[in-house]
Symmetry: C2
Subunit: 336 residues, 2 copies
DNA sequence: GTGAAAGCGCTAACAC
DNA sequence: GTGTTAGCGCTTTCAC
């Protein structure tokens, strides 16, 4: 049996309340008593029972991080930084997988509303609507990371339209003119365009360039092979692009490989730019230019929003936009 | 205020106990009552309070996964698979960062013994000794993933000596003769050799090859740049190696880059093999041959060990060895 | 400044 | 089959 507050109290010859005060660093405890209690705590190896504390206070000190996959969230480094930020604020993080695109439909039922957590951090786009409803119905605050806004939730937003436009600007700056895009969702043509696509279109339009048919390649997912296939297709286009804007770094890495297999040199024959600043892009050959938000910023702000929300449950939903930057590397070096 | 068992009981006109029985799928409940209770649960949106249940049963349904970093554990895919395996067994996973090598010394104090978890999964080598002590003292079972055995803990072991030997065999099979190794710990020379080094030495020795001075390169960490530097050094060696055995994929990726910068072709001039089957190695240029254990196997067995341990706390520590395999890719293609 | 006692929501004996 | 009740370990009024 684990030692409890009572055991410590007996050992230190004080009341339970006093021990509790000492453990929780409350004032109004004489130095002498405090020392005695501390000693008893150490002697008995006392560790507070989290479940009991949670039951009593209603605070678990636990955050749920819901992402498609811990080792491959939408934004590289997000999971890591969330754990760091949470730790520094006294929270611990439980991870839930949303799963692949196809698995997500079932997510609300599977994940239910993670019980026992103080708040949920949702680090994914295309979240099945039932999921957020379930959390909110259970009284668990939700903080959104990225796009897919929800008026009821706090959010640290990414301006993907702007990021896409910045990517295009960068390609234009390096002298590219025939810029194709890879990674739009299959539903894009019929449904509402996603921000990345809007940014892409606007930037291309602003530059006075035209968009040959087929330059906006949709992909079912954002895996290397999706990028590979889309790039192969584009390289066979009668107006072969001189730049590829990829909606995710993985797609871009696949595109790099497709270029190699097609005998094209990057960046000499075709430039490639991605989104997300993944680690593999930093070490690919050539290294990959990417546009990315700072995951540490996102994580820090998200955890800050959580603490604020817990303090004032009824405050209006807050919305912060995280800055992003183009990180120029070899894959878009200007051709001189 | 959230709805409780009592609310549901009142609504369904039964006792608390009956509701509890229904919620926990206990037998001995008439179908009629069961249906009524289910209905009340839905109508009121009841969700069990985890903290209360934990306090009562002593089971939190929570596993702590302690790794250097969620998005970069020792073995690629480990964190992901642990979350999957845990989920399928009804556990949720809270992640703790051990931090970089230098931060680890402070880990026992920082991580303490994560309270409120049923067991700890330790997915790291070079674990500061105090950490395991703290968990065990608190009565929290620990399952080790990988090397660093501890006689008091269950373990899913990796036979790194064998994996290293297999890597060398593979290089020999592809016609290599001057095989250098990158990634031994700096303390290697004085302290006990790690398994990878033993496997390397044995395999080289068995093949009747000699080991020129400097062929065992130590690195402070296992980052790309460490591999890069070690490889650069070896390429300048008077007996330039025709193969590089790297203790981790990251080192190998760094080595690939070093080869490119030095004007060497991989695999024509030098072969490179890594350990861990990282994703970036699958898409590097050339793609990287690697030796790896199956992270899904590791995770599954680890979670199985946890459940077994929780059922019989006093059983003798179990030790399972996970299989591994050489995954041949471009970086070690035979030179014909 | 410290102590006694109530009760958070749940499960498990035990009675019926 | 179902109801009653005690109590898990903690925090928190409320007296003293």
């Amino acid at each position: 049996m684990a030692t409890t507050l009572r055991d410590v109290a007996r050992h230190a010859r004080v009341s339970v309340k006093t021990v509790s005060n000492v453990v929780n660093d409350h004032p109004h405890v004489s130095d002498d008593v405090r020392r005695r209690v501390r000693e008893a705590v150490r002697a008995l190896g006392y560790r507070p029972n989290l479940a009991a504390r949670t039951l009593r206070t209603g605070r678990a000190g636990l955050l749920a991080l819901i992402v498609p996959d811990v080792e491959a969230p939408g934004l590289h480094g997000l999971a890591r930084e969330v754990v760091r930020a949470a730790t520094s604020r006294g929270f611990r993080v439980v991870v839930d997988h949303l799963g692949s695109d196809t698995e997500r439909a079932a997510a609300p039922a599977r994940i239910g509303a993670p019980p026992g957590v103080d708040a949920v951090l949702l680090g994914a786009d295309m979240v099945p609507p039932g999921l957020i409803d379930a959390q909110l119905a259970a009284g668990t605050p939700v903080v959104l990371l990225g796009e897919s806004p929800d008026p009821r939730c706090d959010q640290v937003a990414l301006d993907w339209a702007r990021a896409a436009a910045d990517a295009i600007e960068h390609l234009l700056d390096t002298g590219r003119r025939r810029i194709a895009a890879i990674g739009a969702r299959p539903g894009e043509a019929t449904g509402p365009a996603q921000p990345r696509t809007l940014g892409y279109r606007h930037a291309v339009h602003r530059a006075g360039l035209d968009l040959p048919a087929g330059y906006l390649r949709t992909t079912a997912q954002q895996r290397h092979e999706d990028g590979y296939r889309a790039a192969r297709w584009l390289f066979a286009h009668e107006q072969r692009p001189d730049a590829l804007f990829c909606y995710a770094d993985r797609l871009a890495i696949g595109a790099l490989r497709a270029a190699a297999d097609a005998g094209l040199r990057v960046p000499a024959d075709v430039a490639v730019i991605g989104l997300g600043d993944s680690e593999e892009g930093r070490y690919s050959r050539p290294t990959l230019t990417s546009v990315s938000a700072d995951p540490a910023f996102l994580a820090r702000e998200a955890v800050a929003l959580v603490t604020a929300r817990l303090d004032r449950p009824d405050a209006a939903p807050a919305r912060i936009t995280a800055p992003h930057a183009v990180l120029p590397r070899e894959s878009t070096r200007p051709v001189v």
